[in-house]
């Protein structure tokens, strides 16, 4: 029984790290510009496909492929921001929500046409580590490690570099930042690009464990919402903790009840936290 619980918890936590990275992108965009990015899932799916194509057609190691994904996603995010959000950023939450949702529909529509909805698989294995009754998959350990590195890098970027500080300034008070000479539109575009990048990287990491289609991002997007609310919208670090909490929950809950109850618990908790403490467990802006 103990072996079962520890195996489940560890499995859950390892996935939780990747959930955290995914949610971090969403949380960052919300924190900086008060936009809920409904194209988040689609971006994750694009990340999955990027790694898949690089691995299957070009033979690039998935983890090296991630570096290319980072660059592509940054540019992609920038373009999305300029094309869809720039005009409506001041118009209120309904319009920004719908703008990102429209982008989501476009990406999924074109993606379905190009890739169809048949499942794909990145057949990449790093073996596993045997700890007695607990088996740890190499790919998941590496993904968890990558998540920690990315979080650290993001933290350093936001707090110790000029662009990072500009982002924090704009998210605090856009008008004041403009007055201080910070080009706020460019900064917003950069933050959106960062958020997209985090989503795509999370997608790429996930593609090494599970098969996926262009629609797979949807489930992760829903989980990202839950995590952001748990951890507090606008707090990237909170997103990582939220991810770990969710992953841990997904590991522990099935031991005591049928696995199909997990979504009920997840979304029930989601609504509960929203109603009782909308600022999340770590407090948000």
């Amino acid at each position: 029984m103990f072996a079962q619980i520890s195996a489940s918890v560890i499995d859950g936590l390892l996935i939780g790290f990747v959930y955290g990275i995914a949610a971090m992108g969403l949380s960052l965009i919300w924190g900086v510009m008060r936009v809920i990015n409904l194209a988040h899932g689609a971006t994750m799916a694009l990340g999955m496909f990027c790694i898949y194509l690089l691995f299957t057609d070009v033979g690039v190691n998935p983890y090296l492929g991630l570096l290319l994904v980072v660059v592509l996603a940054l540019i992609f995010g920038f373009i999305i921001y300029m094309a869809s959000l720039h005009r409506v950023i001041q118009a209120g939450y309904l319009y920004t929500l719908l703008a990102t949702f429209a982008v989501n529909m476009i990406v999924i529509g074109i993606g379905t046409m190009v890739f169809s909805t048949s499942p794909r698989n990145v057949d990449f294995s790093l073996g596993s580590i045997d700890l007695g009754p607990i088996i740890l998959q190499g790919t998941r350990l590496l993904a968890a490690g990558a998540s920690i590195v990315i979080t650290a890098a993001l933290y350093l970027f936001l707090y110790f570099t000029r662009p990072g500080k500009s982002i924090r300034a704009v998210s605090d008070n856009r008008a004041a930042a403009e007055l201080m000479g910070i080009p706020s539109s460019q900064v917003l575009a950069l933050s959106f690009g960062l958020g997209t990048m985090l989503a795509a990287v999370a997608g790429g990491l996930t593609s090494t464990f599970f098969p996926f289609t262009i629609l797979s991002g949807g489930t992760y997007q829903l989980k990202s919402f839950v995590i952001c609310v748990l951890g507090g919208l606008g707090h990237p670090l909170g997103a990582l903790f939220g991810g770990l909490i969710l992953g841990g929950l997904e590991g522990i809950v099935p031991i005591f009840m049928p696995v199909s109850w997990v979504p009920v618990v997840e979304f029930g908790l989601f609504v509960l936290v929203l109603v009782v403490r909308p600022t999340g467990l770590m407090g948000a802006k």
Binding site: A99, F101, M105, I106, G109, M113, F225, F267, V271
Partner: protein, 322 residues
């Protein structure tokens, strides 16, 4: 109120009434199938308009009323053999109860938080129904084919279902118009523009919002029961489709939110596009991308939707295009 003297009222009601009547008179099966989907979308979009267009609360999970009400109605129909008319109304009532209970908690949230919460509710409802044995769990419910005999066999039954849907849609449109031109509706619009100012002026916002939410829940419940009965079965996946929920939102935005004519035209246009692209092997997935493109253009350039734009350009038509 004398709404029957307003051209705006008649335009909307007649559009739906005459359209449906023509289909019934022609008696063709394929036309009926297409018209069924159009009417269903009109009813769903118009009911969403009550909470989203009038009160300004964007419900991303509107489909949950369709799903829960429809499941309950279908359950009564298939397991307890209630007549269709009663089961349908019971389904609508269940949706209202759910709206009242959930609304009490969730309507306190503002803006994007409310939108997120509605998504969570839809997902939680789906997961719950998938685990709920009386509703068939993950494999859902079905009617024994002989259930159609009560209505004169399957062929006849399909026509009765269509007629019922037609009547329900007319009722939805009439209700939307009445709400818009009532004091209650005025209060909702005030809430949409500035909730705090509205409360200061004496609008009882919490209660009014809840009423609007409950009203918007009733018709989807009716429609859900009819839809599942037509298909003969229901599974959790079909009843709580998030994508459909978002598509309804697009329809409202496309036609123009806050107007009665908006959802009607938006639903019609969207369904035509979808139906056309459904069977074309190359373009069938393009419908989603095209809809996304259209939505983006509307959000960026024509936030009032098609009807809203026309009303802007031609102020004289405002009395007619409600």
């Amino acid at each position: 109120m004398s709404f029957w003297r307003q051209p705006g009222f008649w335009l909307n009601v007649l559009l739906v009434t005459v359209g449906g009547a023509v289909v019934i008179l022609l008696g063709q099966d394929t036309l009926r199938e297409t018209a069924f989907t159009v009417l269903m979308f009109i009813a769903l979009a118009s009911s969403l308009n009550i909470i989203m267009g009038f009160a300004g609360y964007v419900n991303f999970g509107h489909i949950v009323f369709f799903g829960l009400g429809g499941y309950f109605g279908f359950f009564l129909l298939s397991q307890l053999e209630w007549p269709l008319y009663l089961a349908m109304i019971a389904g609508g009532c269940l949706s209202v109860v759910v709206a009242l209970v959930v609304g009490a908690a969730v309507l306190r949230l503002r803006g994007a938080y409310f939108a997120l919460a509605t998504i969570g509710i839809n997902e939680a409802a789906r997961a719950f129904v998938a685990n709920f044995p009386p509703f068939g769990g993950a494999t859902g419910l079905y009617v024994n084919f002989s259930a159609y005999d009560k209505y004169g066999g399957a062929g006849q039954a399909l026509w009765w279902i269509f007629i019922l849907l037609w009547l329900v849609t007319i009722a939805t449109v009439v209700l939307c118009y009445l709400v818009k031109h009532s004091r209650f509706g005025l209060g909702l619009i005030a809430i949409r523009e500035d909730e705090d100012a509205a409360m200061v002026m004496g609008v009882k916002a919490p209660w009014d919002k809840t009423k609007a939410f409950a009203l918007s829940a009733f018709f989807p419940g009716l429609v859900g029961t009819l839809y599942f009965f037509k298909n003969g079965n229901v599974e959790p996946e079909d009843a709580f489709r998030f994508q459909l929920s978002l598509e309804i939102l697009v329809m409202v935005m496309l036609g123009g939110k806050g107007l009665v004519l908006g959802p009607i035209l938006g639903a019609f246009a969207y369904e035509r596009l979808r139906g056309y692209l459904l069977i074309s092997p190359i373009f069938k997935n393009l419908h989603l991308a095209l809809s996304g493109g259209v939505l983006l253009l509307i959000v960026l350039f024509v936030p009032g939707g098609a009807v809203g734009w026309v009303r802007d350009r031609f102020p004289r038509l405002r009395r007619v295009l409600e």
